[in-house]
């Protein structure tokens, strides 16, 4: 099936600095796609290229099979929610929201009806006559959204729209955004540097790092099977243990480490046996048992009580530089732990991901 939008091998430079390099992204209809990356990764540039605010130095931007190169900003069937909202301060809420229809020369009655409708959708029904200066941050956010959806774009671009809101409002707006996207059935391309936000909202996440796509996939897939050390560290917490790939059986890999053989799972093609690899395992996936021979036995270094959870840091004598973090629900058994104690550390092969170590 043809994607709604296809960024084909896009590259972009600012002077001699290469900000995007071989970016290839497809956006499907009705999809909530998040482009996730740390600041300076190039994610905002990708959004600005789609919106038409920036040109490209290589590659093509295709919309339903049409090249958008010669289509100016105001002719692209996308609308943007800007990070600073960019509301027009001399217009009231209704005028702001109706602006897109007004400049298209739609009749007044139609604009008024649609504005009322859209304001109702975003939950601002009664505030049409207010000015942006009289609104709270969350309300301004909703005005920016209403303004973007009124022209029924095929795609909405959102540039870190929640970053200016406080934590509570953020969570509320996240739920709202998700349900709005479902109701409208429009594709959302959402930019953020917040991995939790990305995981909570997206159908699919594309992680961008240093102008390149690091990995893409469904949130759970990315979380469970990171492919690079960067992803493993950027999305949640991971223990990374270095070793050499010894053998592959199906998807389960055996990795030879200084602490003995460990196992992990790889999705897709495995690296060649003998490659330097990392085993990534989440603190919450590690199980603890009494010390037993033949297993990974480590010594408790520190115990941190975090309320519902407890974080245990262990060290294996053969891995002096690796602190193994284990997160468990705090209960009676964890209460009896004490530093210096030796424990057997283990995990299911399915809960550990195999990464290729970067030379």
């Amino acid at each position: 099936m043809q994607p709604l939008l296809h960024l084909e091998n896009i590259s972009k430079r600012y002077g001699s600095v290469r900000v995007l390099d071989g970016i290839d992204i497809t956006v499907a209809d009705n999809e909530f796609l998040t482009i996730l990356g740390p600041s300076g990764s190039g994610k905002t540039t990708i959004l600005r290229i789609i919106g038409g605010f920036e040109g490209i130095d290589g590659g093509r931007l295709m919309f339903e099979g049409r090249d958008l190169a010669s289509v100016p900003i105001n002719r692209r069937p996308f609308n943007t929610v800007f990070q600073d909202y960019a509301l027009f301060h001399h217009m009231n809420v209704a005028e702001n929201v109706g602006y897109g229809l007004k400049v298209r020369g739609r009749p007044r009655a139609e604009i008024a009806a649609k504005v009322a409708d859209v304001l109702e959708t975003v939950g601002l029904g009664a505030l049409g006559a207010r000015y942006p200066a009289q609104l709270s941050g969350g309300q301004r956010q909703r005005v920016a959204l209403a303004r973007a959806i009124i022209c029924e774009p095929r795609l909405i671009l959102l540039d870190e729209p929640l970053s200016a809101l406080d934590v509570e409002l953020r969570a509320q707006m996240q739920r709202f955004l998700k349900s709005l996207q479902r109701r409208l059935g429009i594709a959302f391309v959402f930019i953020t540097h917040d991995q939790e936000e990305a995981i909570a909202l997206s159908d699919r996440i594309i992680v961008v790092h240093r102008g390149r796509i690091e990995q893409e996939g469904a949130p759970e897939q990315l979380y469970r099977r990171p492919r690079t050390p960067f992803i493993a560290a950027f999305l949640g917490e991971n223990n990374l243990i270095a070793g050499t790939l010894a053998g592959v059986q199906g998807a389960v890999c055996r990795v030879e480490t200084a602490a003995g053989p460990l196992h992990a799972t790889v999705d897709g093609p495995a690296p060649l046996p003998g490659s330097a690899v990392l085993v990534a395992v989440r603190p919450e996936h590690i199980t603890l048992a009494a010390a037993a021979p033949g297993a990974l036995v480590a010594e408790v270094v520190e115990i941190r009580f975090l309320g519902a959870n407890i974080l245990i840091e262990l060290r294996h004598p053969a891995l002096p530089d690796t602190l193994i973090k284990v997160r468990r629900l705090a209960d009676g058994s964890t209460a009896r732990l004490s530093p210096g104690q030796r424990l057997t550390v283990g995990w299911a092969a399915d809960d550990a991901a195999l990464l290729v170590a970067k030379g």
Binding site: G51, F53, P72, I73, N74, R75, F78, N79, T80, F82, D84, A86, L87, F88, H89, H90, Y99, G100, K102, V103, R104, A133, R147, A148, C151
Partner: protein, 267 residues
């Protein structure tokens, strides 16, 4: 906590008051003298009772009224033209490459920083070289050269404050460049445009030195005043000076109120 130094505070206060008196006393004197004329009876100075006679004389003086009309026309045309030019320069500055923008900016500012006598003289020479007869048009051109930088400054500050995202938002919503200018940029710049125009009007209305060089048979109010002073002091001069003072003060007040309103809205 703020340290108190009553003696120093009092001293500073006195200096400030003395400064203000030095600045405003002559102005007050002129205004007062326009209502209370000085009389000399056998060498003894005194004040005549309150009268509006100088004002009546002023109004009856056709030449002065003609000069006032010229001044008003010049100030209006020059400030409107400057507004348009300054806007164009400011748009160029924010969109052009930095190097070209700075070059343009220097060229805009130069006539304002040059001594007016040099600007006036160069204009005079230029008009003569191209055989352009001196008159209303040359006065207006001279004023535009001088006031564009002032308006440019006011307009540019506001334009830079707006930033690019409003323009981008407008284009993103489907507006053309022209629609963006009319519906978004100009309305947002209204306070700056009005105060820029008022400032331009005030400067043009008072401008003397450049006008002296480029005026032909038409004279503006300040030039008329200058000419009157040369032939001898008449009471109308006080009245005229008071009127000019009043107009300028009102414009300044208007600009001040506008800027205060703007600051309140921004906060």
């Amino acid at each position: 906590m703020k340290q108190k130094a009553p003696l120093l505070d009092t001293l500073l206060g006195l200096v400030a008051v003395a400064g203000l008196i030095a600045l405003y006393a002559p102005l007050v004197a002129v205004a007062a003298l326009s209502f209370f004329q000085i009389t000399r009876v056998r060498g003894v100075m005194g004040f005549a009772p309150f009268s509006l006679e100088p004002y009546a004389a002023l109004i009856a003086n056709g030449e002065i009224l003609a000069a006032l009309a010229t001044s008003l026309i010049v100030a209006m045309v020059a400030s409107l033209a400057s507004l348009v030019l300054a806007l164009m320069f400011a748009f160029y500055f924010v969109s052009a490459r930095r190097r070209f923008g700075l070059m343009m900016q220097m060229m805009v500012f130069l006539p304002f920083l040059l001594p007016p006598i040099i600007t006036g003289l160069s204009l005079l020479i230029a008009f003569r070289e191209i055989d352009f007869a001196r008159g209303l048009a040359t006065i207006i051109v001279g004023h535009i050269v001088f006031i564009v930088p002032v308006v440019y400054r006011t307009v540019l500050v506001r334009l830079q404050l707006l930033g690019g995202s409003l323009t981008e938002a407008s284009l993103d919503l489907g507006a053309s460049r022209v629609q963006t200018l009319v519906h978004v940029i100009l309305p947002q710049m209204r306070p700056a445009l009005i105060s820029g125009a008022l400032l331009a009007f005030a400067i043009s209305f008072d401008e003397t030195l450049i006008t002296l060089f480029v005026a032909g048979s038409e004279t503006t109010l300040p030039i008329r005043l200058w000419a009157m002073m040369r032939v001898g002091f008449v009471p109308e001069i006080n009245a005229l000076a008071t009127l000019i003072l009043l107009v300028t003060a009102l414009i300044t007040l208007a600009i001040g109120l506008l800027q205060r309103g703007q600051a309140e809205r921004a906060s």
